[in-house]
């Protein structure tokens, strides 16, 4: 299909640049007009990161075909700060600390602008309603509500504009609510995340992923994909020159599946092409044949004899078992006036950072393989990639781009290896931007846990013994499981004095989506059980929940820690 002739007004400027017929308004703004303040968070109208005004009406630009915007007047986040001066709403976001990672913030500012345009006197409940279509994963929304209320009052003249000024120096800059230095770049949409970055000659990457939870790859035929015009390269595990393997603790995950796939969504091959559409078409032209292998999806089943083995190095499917032993648990239970047993479980949870994974790689003029991505651990990623691509460490460079939310989910080097290989093979810059669906299916989750708890107590609430066992589904690869099991074990029983403990945490391989690092690293799951259990015990003993904890608490003195 031929390009569409466009004629619209964008941020006060007439725009007639042609558009591809497949484009959404979001693509046109970002890719053709370079207005990257409008972000893509989900591509399905669920998150609001792409909000813009179309003829004065707040719209999600990911849902609007660009053809429908022909003749319209568009306002994007870039239109709000005139001559670089933040408007009242943006200044209020700056003042209250309403931006954290900042990725949702342009959309949030647009939604808040709409709220105050629709009703300049909106109260906080109405503001919440009007922001209900915009997801923020960092802030907990509270500082956003505060910002919109302050802006409303300043605009209405009921609060002086000085309310938006920076706090004074006072006597110290420690303990001072200095406004975030990065907020202006976030509330204006000026900050460029990896998916906003472009380089001349840049190729676009797409990744072929496994539809099978556990299968042997019997063949990969990339010839049709490679023959397509515009395709620069197709890469597979065979392109890895060094030791293929990454992971936060165990390097058990190949850059792309090597002979065997272990979960649905695992990368098998990647294409780099001149444009995204070609890359997608070429990805779909790769032919892979599989032989299904027996799979296991439940960690307790995976621990049984005869269960399918996920990794040959771990025949028992145990990624990590962390034991903690102290005192004599049987003696402790024998001394108890009350013994309470219960089981607890927690679910896998998605990080849901608004910025899907993205990265840009190139080989620089000195032959340094450079990866720009929102990596939470550039130090370790550089170590691992240098082994994978068999280059000296100073010939590998990681640059951490602005991270649009991480929460542990961007600690794993899940895609940077593919970018490096394609950049090395083509000697051109290569960019990969995950779709939301791809991000959810292929990246780590919070470990689900099943916890069996047995606690013995005296009538006054003192704990005589605890037996705690937690079995966690680590999924198909080790990622952070070892560390998560360690932290869960150490922190499991809370900040309480307990003489006799038997603690075991187990991270187990299955053919599920891998589990990895997620804010609290296992502590949340374990302490959910402990804090629920203490309330159950307190009720049985007729004690107040605060009193039982005060009686056994360590009082904030870690030196008293008898166990590790």
């Amino acid at each position: 299909m031929p390009d569409l002739q466009m004629d619209m007004t964008v941020n006060g400027r007439r725009v007639t640049k042609p558009a591809g017929p497949h484009m959404r308004l979001l693509d046109y703004l970002r890719d053709e007009l370079n207005l990257t303040g409008t972000k893509e968070g989900c591509g399905a109208g669920e998150c609001g990161s792409c909000s813009v005004f179309v003829d004065g009406k707040l719209m999600k630009s990911c849902l609007m075909p660009v053809a429908k915007a022909d003749g319209a007047t568009i306002e994007t986040i870039e239109s709000l700060a005139q001559n670089g001066n933040l408007n009242f709403l943006q200044r209020a976001f700056h003042k209250t600390g309403a931006s954290q990672c900042g990725y949702c913030i342009p959309g949030m500012v647009m939604a808040a602008t709409s709220a105050l345009r629709e009703n300049p006197l909106a109260d906080v409940e109405e503001i919440k309603e009007r922001l209900g279509g915009n997801i923020c994963r960092c802030t907990g929304y509270s500082k956003i509500f505060e910002a919109v209320e302050i802006a409303r009052d300043v605009i209405n003249g009921t609060l002086p504009a000085t309310a938006l000024d920076a706090p004074g120096a006072g006597e110290s800059y420690i303990g001072n609510n200095v406004r975030r230095l990065d907020a202006p770049s976030k509330v204006t949409g000026a900050l460029r995340y990896a998916g906003d970055m472009v380089m001349p000659g840049m190729l676009h990457m797409q990744v072929l992923r496994s539809p099978h939870p556990h299968a042997q790859i019997t063949s990969i035929d990339t010839s049709a994909a490679e023959a397509m015009p515009g395709v620069a390269c197709v890469i597979t595990a065979a392109d890895v020159p060094g030791e293929d393997g990454f992971g936060v603790f165990v390097h058990d995950q190949p850059v792309m599946a090597s002979g065997r796939v272990r979960y649905v969504g695992e990368a098998i091959a990647a294409v780099a092409a001149e444009d995204l559409l070609t890359a997608k078409a070429a990805r779909d032209a790769i032919k892979v044949t599989y032989e299904d292998l027996p799979a296991v999806f439940d960690p307790e089943e995976a621990m049984r004899d005869g269960a399918p083995v996920i990794h040959d190095y771990a025949l028992d499917n145990i990624v990590k078992h962390v034991p903690i032993r102290k005192g004599d648990v049987e003696k402790g239970f024998a001394e108890a006036d009350l013994i309470v047993e219960e089981t607890y479980s927690t679910q896998p949870v998605e990080h849901a950072y608004l910025e899907p994974e993205a990265g840009l790689a190139y080989v620089d003029h000195d032959g340094v393989v450079t990866i720009v991505s929102p990596s939470q651990n550039i130090t370790h990623h550089r170590h691992m990639l240098s082994k994978i691509i068999d280059k000296p460490i100073h010939k590998v460079r990681f640059i951490m781009s602005p991270v649009g939310g991480g929460f542990g989910g961007k600690e794993d080097m899940i895609f940077q290896g593919m970018l490096a290989l394609a950049a090395m093979k083509t000697r051109l810059p290569v960019r990969l931007v995950f779709s939301r669906e791809e991000s959810i299916v292929s990246t780590a989750k919070r470990h689900p846990a099943r916890i069996t708890y047995k606690m013995g107590l005296k009538d006054d609430g003192r704990i005589t013994a605890v037996a705690f066992a937690m079995i966690s589904d680590g999924g198909a690869y080790g990622m952070s499981t070892e560390g998560v099991m360690r932290k869960a074990a150490i922190l499991s029983c809370g900040p309480y004095a307990i003489e006799n403990v038997k603690i075991d945490t187990y991270g187990i391989y299955t053919n599920n989506t891998p589990s990895g690092a997620f804010r609290t690293f296992g502590a949340m799951q374990a302490q959910f059980a402990t804090e629920s259990h203490l309330d159950i015990c307190a009720e049985k003993l007729g004690l107040d929940p605060f009193e039982i904890r005060k009686g056994i608490g360590l009082g904030g003195r870690p030196a008293d820690l008898a166990r590790p």
Partner: protein, 339 residues
Amino acid sequence: MSGKVRGRGMAASWYGIARTATIDRAGAWAELDDGGTAKVVTGVTEIGEGILTVLAQIAAEELGIQPEQVTIGDNDTARSPEAAHAGATRQTYMIGNAVALACREARARLVAELAGFWDVSEDTIEAFDGEIWAAGTNLKMTMEEAVDLCKKRGVVPVGSGSFSTDCTGLDPVDGSGSPWQAYVYGCQVAEVEVDTVTGEVQVLGIWAAHDVGRAINPRGVEGQIEGGIVQGLGQALMEDYRLENGHTSTHGFAKYILPTSLDVPQINSIIVEDPDPLSPLGAKGIGEPALVPTAPAIMNAIYDAIGVRITSLPATPEKIRAGLAEKRQRDNVLGDAAE
């Protein structure tokens, strides 16, 4: 019991900060620069938590300038010193202290030159907010003038800092060891309203008290607490990544439900400052621990409201309704037995 019922619950928590059961370390470089500004370079910074601003505050305080005058060069393995990773609630603790040490060294270089120029003892020199002076005298100049003077005397005021923690691994048999040198503690109270007809739970308020060592930026600390609580609320009540034979049915935000502005309770943060005795700044951290007590506090509040103990997260309306039905049955049986 019918209609909407309110209840309150509490939960406590603890957390070890920085890397676990291993020596953690971070490095930074600092330079007092022309115009009385500063450059600070370190390996890893912002993932949204506000660490850039915290580091600028630390540098400003140590050097005697303003946070806005600090330029942070960061996040590049080829251009900045190792600071490891953005996680483990370690950035304020590890990188903050590394930056403080680097700034102290840079400042000491400048102060030595100024002390020579003014002919005063180095320890009388103080600086804040862009000015530097010798206490007990009327000797004073701007930091811009001081840097210029220092350089004209042939010295570039630069410094470097490396900060590490003293920890050990765990014994593989009994787990004994010293996994962290700094701990934080917290406690949250949740107030909920349970609709006994629909099973829906609305969290009305959270009171959250957290020890952070020293709060470098109290508003930033609140932001971390609020964000952590809402993630905890999501895990407590709605979020659920579902898998069936390895295939997910929750592959988008239409199916994977996240907290929105309409789910957010009134959050009341209480910042407790118990300075860390083992580090130059006394600050600890808050990124992860804010989330730990939220879900159990909400579960305990649900129990307080309706007498139903949810032991399997999330506490969906279906589970609440099933729990209520089971409780009614149990109460009826008990009632019958009593008759």
